[in-house]
């Protein structure tokens, strides 16, 4: 690596500077554990975990029946599942996300309150988005599963391994409900 950078230095000072900035950016982001594109962190599955046989998941009940998420393709499933998991986080944190906190702490104190408010509106979801999100989710599910959604309940549950290949859904906790207007 050192030799490579030495060769780069001989060939182009501009590209050398680019590589140094990129390397420093990557180190800073890695040290602070904050990802800023294009300084990616590759820390997937690096947190030590304990196997308990129990995993918290989201569930969606459509017209009273649990939606079979694994039956659809992974990309489509994730458009439903990942925002839903984030929605649960938002509901639990009362929509007080890290992004909102940084804007209030760093932006509002250095710039005007109006600027901070505009940024919050563009970058953060608020409680007012709850209804619109559930409505979007219902219409997305209608398209994917090709069935009408009259009622919908979303929440969290525990999936528990009772045998090696048998899993039971337990401890359902509703988070929000939706009824077709």
């Amino acid at each position: 690596m050192n030799f490579f950078l030495r060769d780069v230095w001989k060939q182009s000072k501009v590209i050398f500077a680019f590589f140094v900035i990129f390397t420093l950016g990557t180190f800073v982001c890695t040290y602070s554990k904050i990802q800023v594109t294009p300084f990616f962190l590759w820390a997937h599955y690096s947190d030590p975990q304990t196997s308990t046989g129990q995993h918290e998941r989201i569930y969606i009940k459509v017209n009273g029946e649990i939606l079979d998420l694994p039956s659809i393709t992974r990309p489509t499933r994730e458009v439903i599942q990942l925002p839903m998991e984030y929605f649960v986080q938002l509901e639990r944190s009362n929509y007080d996300t890290g992004t909102r906190q940084i804007i209030r702490k760093k932006i509002a104190t250095r710039f005007s309150a109006a600027t901070a408010q505009k940024m919050e509106a563009r970058l953060c979801n608020s409680k007012g988005d709850k209804r619109a999100y559930l409505s979007w989710l219902a219409s997305y599910i209608e398209r994917v599963y090709k069935k009408k959604v009259y009622t919908m309940e979303v929440g969290t549950c525990d999936l528990v391994f009772v045998k090696k290949t048998e899993v039971q859904r337990m401890n359902l906790i509703p988070i929000a409900e939706y009824k077709r207007p």
């Binding site: 060769d7 800023v36 594109t37 690096s46 079979d68 694994p70 992004t99 979801n125 899993v167």
Partner: protein
């Protein structure tokens, strides 16, 4: 040693890379993952990624949410740009525009999916060398990309070593349970042969721990790329096998990123470089 690409070699490489990107985008269309296909999503997650902030502060995401036709046009232009770059690899403006559009696309998609996936956005690193005109600059940037790709895998191993997950008892069992629990919750689900193999590891803690260490060792093997190019061809093999395993284990193949392994190809033999054009 840094090799200078010849004009013909660069042209071929441009065609490969952007044809791959075009195929990736066709997959995204098939999977309903283009911005216009997300049906004006409501939630967005930017976390503390300033690049995501900047893209959303321009108002472009909001604009596409409120204007389906504009979103569709954006998706279409991005796709055609990749195709056009593959067809006209010498038009410098095309890879630059593709890079900008691709970055915006990945940021918007990841924001609306509420998960900052790496499987697409990392390709932005691959596009950068193609955005410079001179062959010399291109060659140096492409040589640098080789280290960036090696860093991706090596750092993944280092994270697991430093955080202690690699030698953590029960880590592999948790990993398998975590990724298999949803499908196992389907009444009457019958695991296939590969899934059964993974589930077998649940009952064999020592074998599971060994499998995890082996996986991390495969990632760590990319460290060798920082010291020599001798083993580059093996790294391609190791990378592909590693991703085939992750496809079974965590249902993620990172197939879109496989094009990054192009940096480990022996270009001096593939394109029969003129030795006089080599610089060190």
């Amino acid at each position: 040693m840094i090799y200078f690409f010849s004009d013909i070699a660069r042209t071929r490489l441009t065609r490969w890379v952007f044809a791959w990107l075009f195929l990736v985008l066709l997959y995204q269309w098939w999977a309903d993952l283009m911005i216009s296909q997300l049906e004006s999503p409501v939630l967005l997650r930017v976390d503390l990624d300033v690049t995501y902030w900047l893209v959303h502060l321009t108002g472009i995401g909001e604009f596409f949410k409120n204007n389906g036709f504009a979103a569709f046009t954006f998706d279409l232009i991005l796709t055609l740009l990749c195709l056009a770059t593959a067809i006209f690899p010498k038009r410098m403006v095309l890879p630059i525009l593709t890079g900008i559009f691709f970055l915006i696309y990945c940021v918007l998609l990841n924001s609306y999916q509420c998960w900052h996936y790496h499987n697409l956005i990392t390709l932005i690193l691959l596009i950068i060398p193609f955005c410079v005109r001179s062959l010399k600059s291109f060659s140096i940037l492409f040589a640098g990309l080789r280290y960036a790709v090696a860093y991706i895998y090596a750092s993944a191993a280092i994270w697991k070593l430093f955080r202690g997950s690699v030698f953590n008892e029960g880590q592999m069992q948790w990993l398998i349970e975590h990724n298999y629990v949803d499908r196992m919750a389907i009444p009457g689900y019958q695991p296939n042969f590969l899934e059964n193999t993974m589930l077998y590891l649940l009952e064999s803690p020592k074998l599971a721990a060994f499998a995890l260490i082996l996986g991390v060792a495969m990632e760590a093997s990319f460290l060798v790329a920082f010291f020599t190019k001798k083993f580059d061809r093996y790294l391609i093999g190791i990378g592909v096998v590693f991703h085939l395993i992750t496809a079974v284990l965590v249902d993620v193949s990172f197939l879109q990123l496989w094009i990054l392994f192009v940096v480990f190809l022996p270009f001096e033999r593939l394109f029969k470089f003129n030795p006089e054009s080599n610089v060190s």
